[in-house]
């Protein structure tokens, strides 16, 4: 039943702007709605024995629940952060009141399509849901209707559409492979059950198309070209959603196909591909982070890095690697959202995005500055924050399976990126604030968002809650084909 609640809430919230005229009320209702969704997904985790769903359309197992939970955390944070952000945009005449209402509609269509992805049983409908996420978020990328943002949106929609066509081709070939052994419905569970009988070569070709296609959406280099533009031009709460969870929905779909492929052709094939694409992503992002000038673009490239880390974990495999990669999915979603919100506050205050010009954030905005500096350390993998532990697990998996070169490169790139991010952000954070700038006062809702994300980020680094551990362990078992 709570699956339905999770889907109905965004749906109701999407039509609400037709009734409620005041944007602040809308924002508050929106945040309350997503708090409810978060509670529903928490209940989904806690309730034992969930895998059977009352509806034919859905297939919910632990892996889906884990991704639903991740999405609900970030959507809640983004909804809460939007209230203040949108009001300030209206006050500074960046957007009209009508446009603010349109924002909440698109926000909810976008979230709805993202929640749909891990729930749907049929792999072709998953494809439709992924395309819907692109279409809904394109409006949010081009929200300010400036030359730069429309260009970013066009690039986003075109590159991802080509990617998605490749993914559809892969899906069709998978369909052909499974229909020749008797399963003609594209349902994931049925396809897994006959995967051993499928033609190995066919499945390998199909998987390659799936990886390139959905990998485009997941932000794997070298198909990542849309990502820095879209993430930096999107309205900031949406940047967090794009980076924190949109990429993860694409990863989820790739995982579903990986399970079929591994059953059919052995795990070696997908592992090698994952490691290669992951290392390219790490290398590309390291290079661009070092030469970066804009804050949001830097964070976008850092998303490519973390997607690389996640795929490296899946590539290294073994229970430890898979556990680390899934844990990293959650950690990156939390930490990156916090960083995008911090960057949003800073950019709003200084009215520019260039890291060579912004100075003295700590003294001009103490709260955001403090959160930003903690987030920076968390993002670069410093203990005791959660990303440190997931990255460590992935490193252990790499060393454990004897992949020394890949592990070495992984460490090398992580270190480079650590240096790059520290260099850029310390310029922004320290120094004296510009003359005549008043100290910032963040609203209560904004502070709540930061504290919420910070607590998650710090607590997950110290203790692993039992329910979360259980869901990740079960997901690992699903990935290993148990």
């Amino acid at each position: 039943m709570n699956i339905l609640f999770i889907l109905i809430t965004p749906f109701i919230l999407a039509v609400l702007p037709g009734v409620v005229k005041k944007s602040k009320t809308l924002g508050i209702l929106n945040a309350i709605g997503y708090l409810f969704v978060l509670l529903c997904s928490l209940w989904l985790i806690l309730k034992p024995g969930l895998s059977v769903s009352p509806f034919k359309l859905f297939y919910i197992d632990e892996l889906s629940v884990f991704f639903i939970f991740t999405i609900s955390i970030v959507t809640f944070a983004a909804a809460l952060f939007s209230i203040d952000y949108i009001e300030r945009d209206i006050d500074s005449l960046l957007i009209s009141r009508n446009k603010a209402r349109a924002y909440y509609t698109f926000f909810n269509i976008f979230s709805l399509s993202m929640f749909f992805v891990p729930m749907v049983k049929n792999l072709a409908l998953v494809w439709v849901a992924i395309e819907m996420t692109t279409l809904a978020s394109a409006f949010l990328v081009g929200f300010y209707n400036t030359k730069a943002s429309i260009e970013a949106a066009w690039k986003y929609i075109m590159v991802c559409s080509v990617g998605i066509i490749f993914a559809l081709f892969g899906t069709i070939v998978f369909y052909y492979a499974s229909s020749s052994v008797g399963v003609k419905n594209l349902n994931w569970a049925d396809m897994v059950s006959v995967s051993r009988g499928m033609d190995k070569n066919l499945v390998k070709i199909a998987f390659l198309f799936i990886l390139v296609g959905y990998g485009t959406k997941a932000g794997l280099a070298p198909m990542h070209t849309w990502l820095p533009d879209a993430h930096s031009q999107a309205i900031s709460p949406i940047s967090a959603l794009l980076s924190g969870v949109l990429l993860k929905t694409a990863i989820y779909v790739i995982l579903r196909f990986t399970i079929i492929t591994n059953e059919c052709a052995g795990g070696d094939f997908s592992s090698k591909l994952f490691i290669i694409f992951a290392l390219i992503s790490l290398g590309v992002s390291a290079g661009f982070i070092i030469i970066q000038k804009q804050m949001k673009r830097l964070l976008a490239y850092s998303s490519i890095e973390h997607v690389g880390v996640i795929f490296l974990g899946f590539g290294f495999g073994g229970a430890i690697g898979l556990y680390g990669a899934l844990f990293h999915v959650l950690n990156h979603a939390i930490t990156k959202s916090l960083m995008f919100f911090g960057a949003a506050n800073i950019i709003k205050k200084y009215k520019k995005d260039n890291m060579n010009i912004i100075k003295g954030v700590i003294s001009s905005m103490p709260f955001t500055g403090a959160m930003f500096i903690l987030g920076m350390f968390a993002l670069t993998g410093m203990p005791p924050f959660s990303i440190f532990f997931s990255e460590l697990l992935i490193l252990m998996a790499g060393l454990g399976s004897g992949l020394y070169l890949a592990s070495g490169l992984y460490l090398f790139f992580i270190a480079l990126i650590f240096g790059g991010i520290l260099f850029h952000f310390s310029k922004v954070l320290f120094g004296s604030k510009p003359d005549g700038m008043e100290d910032a006062k963040e609203g209560v809702s904004v502070k709540v968002v930061f504290v919420f994300l910070f607590i998650l980020m710090a607590v997950l680094g110290l203790v692993m809650p039992g329910f979360l551990n259980k869901i990740i362990v079960s997901s690992v078992a699903i990935l290993e084909g148990a």
């Binding site: 030359k147 429309i150 066009w154 081709f169 069709i172 594209l186 673009r297």
Partner: protein, 212 residues
Amino acid sequence: MSMYIFLIGIIIMSYSMVTAKRMTSLIASFRMQSLFLFLATFFMAMKEKSVELYIVAGLLLLLKVVLIPKFLSDIVKKVKMEEGIGLFLNPLVSLLIAVFLTYISYIFTTRVIIFEADAQALSFSASLSVTMIGLFIMIFRMKALSQVIGFLVMENGLFLVASAVSGGMPFFVEIAIFMDVFVSVVIFGIFIYRINKLFTHIDVSRLNTLRR
């Protein structure tokens, strides 16, 4: 036999799109290609006496032969663009590349994927080549609108792939994909209007506000 005629029609229409110099002729060729695709599906429906296939064929006719080309022509009229489609490579070179893509698809199909029937292999390679030609149009034509048509050609190719290898996807999947493509095209159109308004042109190669 009629099936082969339609297949040849579909391929020839993709060549004609590759060599087209003006937007109106590009759209006309796309409409022709979709018409051949409709005929192929319609004949298949008659052969198999399947109601679902008739519905799919009907949707194909409605969306890809009537509505989408109409929508695209409206855009051409409203944005008052110059007729050229922004050739990046001249028509002759493009045609050579397109023929080469067809050849590659054939090699790929016969060497890599083993089909039970020759007819199946032939239609698979044809549809694969249509998909690749669509990708070619997306990459090497610089107008936003021609990229949309490239996307649609790729989608046509995939529709053909699906019917070639397995007699089409499950019914409700086909319907969902149709709806999805239609919504996509409408949204592409909205963005083309916006690009035209902001930049006063829709030449994608000249969109370069964003660097690195």
